[in-house]
């Protein structure tokens, strides 16, 4: 088992440890050893930190060509680690970086990536991965065919950072020499930046009324605003609402937007695709109003209303007013 430890802003962030937790667990159950791999420039300290986890070995590739992430550089480097060690599985956290280069890496070895997995189970010698299809409406069991290595990425939160098995000693850190020509790296990334300063900080909101496609027209946002007003809530939205320009991008909740954890989250006409759930599943109480009873938002809602939000929200506003005036 080989686990890719992604670092962000010079730190082994949560995705790296979640991937380590997943790989350790799968390796134990399959009776495999588990090694870590880390790529970059001046990564000695990070490798040392990774070596504190219970791993057979930490493999490092250091090169100035890897100082900044590029899909060409990272897939060429990790491919050579894989060729040197021939793991059965290569595990990633399903980050934006893994989405960018893991499919390329797998394809370069003529292999598949089972991306965005939520978990796995072992069944009579078979290793079955579980992922979502149809925007989370259904789950699918997925199995590899053909020869290893098998590439898997796990969705954020599928494994817990705090379940990483710490080692009693330190794992050995082994540098791997790779061949990286500057010509092989075709893209030139510039500095990361944020668009305008975020005007709205939803991360501190106590109550959020969030709207999704089910709101249908920008005029209908008024209804959501009225509900937010009586609750003293902030307005948030799923991605398509902000894409359409109905609300500003800084109100978007999800993997590409803000992460929130209010006391109360009311989801109006939001189906609850995984990208949205990633941003709001820390909410304490979730109310979902959606016409489709099978919508994935009902998998995580505390209270579900399978109905038309345009019929339910107006009396809800009145009831809240009544309750507040008492």
């Amino acid at each position: 088992m080989l686990v890719y430890a992604e670092h962000q802003e010079g730190r082994l962030a949560r995705p790296a440890w979640e991937a380590v937790a997943a790989a350790q667990q799968l390796a134990t159950e399959l009776g495999l050893t588990c090694a870590g791999a880390i790529l970059g420039d001046n990564i000695g300290a990070l490798a040392g930190e990774l070596a504190g986890a219970h791993l057979a070995e930490v493999l490092t590739v250091e090169s100035p060509q890897l100082a900044q992430y590029t899909p060409d550089g990272y897939s060429l480097a990790l491919r050579q680690v894989i060729e040197a060690r021939q793991p059965r599985f290569v595990i990633f956290s399903h980050t934006y970086q893994a989405r960018d280069f893991a499919p390329k890496l797998a394809a370069s070895l003529d292999r598949a990536l089972v991306g965005d997995s939520l978990g796995y189970r072992l069944e009579g010698g078979r290793t079955i991965f579980i992922r979502q299809v149809f925007q989370g409406k259904f789950s699918a069991d997925v199995e590899f065919r053909g020869e290893p290595p098998y590439f898997v990425s796990f969705q954020a939160g599928a494994f817990r950072e705090d379940s990483v098995h710490r080692g009693s000693g330190r794992a050995k850190v082994t540098p791997i020499e790779v061949n990286l020509s500057p010509q092989g790296i075709r893209t030139r990334p510039q500095e990361k930046f944020r668009e305008a300063r975020q005007a709205v900080d939803l991360s501190q909101a106590e109550i959020i009324v969030a709207v999704g496609r089910g709101i249908r027209k920008p005029e209908n946002l008024e209804l959501a605003r009225k509900l937010a007003d009586v609750l003293g809530a902030e307005i948030g939205a799923s991605r398509p609402i902000c894409d359409n320009g109905w609300l500003s991008m800084d109100r978007q909740i999800g993997s590409s937007g803000q992460t929130v954890a209010p006391r109360l989250y009311i989801a109006l006409g939001i189906s609850g695709a995984i990208q949205h759930q990633v941003g709001m599943k820390g909410s304490r109480t979730v109310v979902a109003i959606n016409k489709d009873r099978e919508a994935p938002i009902f998998d995580i809602a505390s209270y579900g209303i399978a109905g038309d939000l345009f019929e339910v929200v107006p009396p809800l506003i009145e009831e809240i007013k009544k309750a507040k005036s008492k």
């Binding site: 893209t187 930046f193 944020r194 398509p240 507040k324």
Partner: protein
């Protein structure tokens, strides 16, 4: 600039989906289809680049006969011609097989730029475009939110986690996967719909593309499709809208104590 758009037909977001009796896929009867939403944005981006730089927009679709409707829509919006990869050998492909077939068709065109939506609404692999880039040995960027194109190179804005963004420079030819919301897609005009009827549409089989069935063999298979187990104990509140509102407020106040 010669631009190929990878465009897929998927079940409509509004259509009611049911798992089939064998739990292998959805029940396809009564399902309505539409163009995969991120691909709609990819097409629009391709049309805009052609309007600015000249050239040609070619739609490349893999799917059964019904996918012809998605191709017609793209031609009606302004694509110049289409490739339809339609063959029994293309049924049940995984991301690798799909990319291999698309790459074989695209290679013959030798385009300057290939655009695809960042993922499909059905399988949601989010990897076909990236694999196509690898198979064609082209540079790529994913989750693109803006394109500045010159004749021989590109500058693209990528979306990263948590609201972070990054500009990437790259040579042409290249493959980009496009994020929804990058533009405002146009509607087809009546004139466009009429014109689409006379635009070239080439049907391609696995044999036409010189594809060996072995190369298309799935490397990952979906063995079962099912309704996910509920994680939360969702308490459904039923009744008339008035009753629902009253019950919900009572629960939020007295049970969850959040208002």
């Amino acid at each position: 600039m010669k631009i190929v758009i990878c465009l897929k037909q998927v079940p409509s977001r509004d259509t009611f989906l049911k798992v089939n009796a064998a739990s292998t896929w959805i029940e396809e009867a009564d399902v309505t289809y539409e163009v995969n939403e991120p691909d709609v944005y990819a097409l629009e981006e391709g049309l805009r680049l052609r309007e600015k730089l000249g050239g040609e927009v070619i739609v490349c679709t893999l799917g059964p006969a019904r996918a012809g409707q998605a191709i017609k829509e793209a031609l009606a919006k302004g694509a110049d011609r289409a490739l339809h990869l339609d063959d029994a050998a293309f049924a049940n492909l995984d991301a690798h097989g799909t990319a291999r077939a698309l790459a074989a068709a695209i290679r013959r065109e030798n385009p300057d730029l290939v655009l695809a939506g960042l993922q499909s609404d059905d399988f949601g692999f989010a990897q076909t475009g990236v694999i196509v880039a690898e198979m064609l040995d082209l540079a790529h960027a994913t989750i693109v939110m803006e394109i500045q194109a010159e004749r021989d190179h590109l500058k693209v804005k990528r979306e990263l986690e948590g609201g972070w963004l990054q500009w990437i420079e790259m040579p042409l030819p290249a493959v980009l996967t496009i994020q929804s919301g990058i533009n405002k897609p146009r509607y087809a005009t009546l004139k466009g719909i009429m014109a689409a009827k006379n635009k070239p549409l080439q049907k391609l089989s696995a044999q036409d593309l010189g594809l060996d069935p072995e190369a298309l063999k799935p490397r990952q298979v979906m063995t079962r499709v099912y309704v996910p187990e509920k994680i939360a104990q969702t308490e459904f509140i039923e009744g008339s809208p008035g009753e629902i509102a009253a019950r919900l407020v009572d629960k939020l106040k007295n049970e969850a104590r959040v208002i």
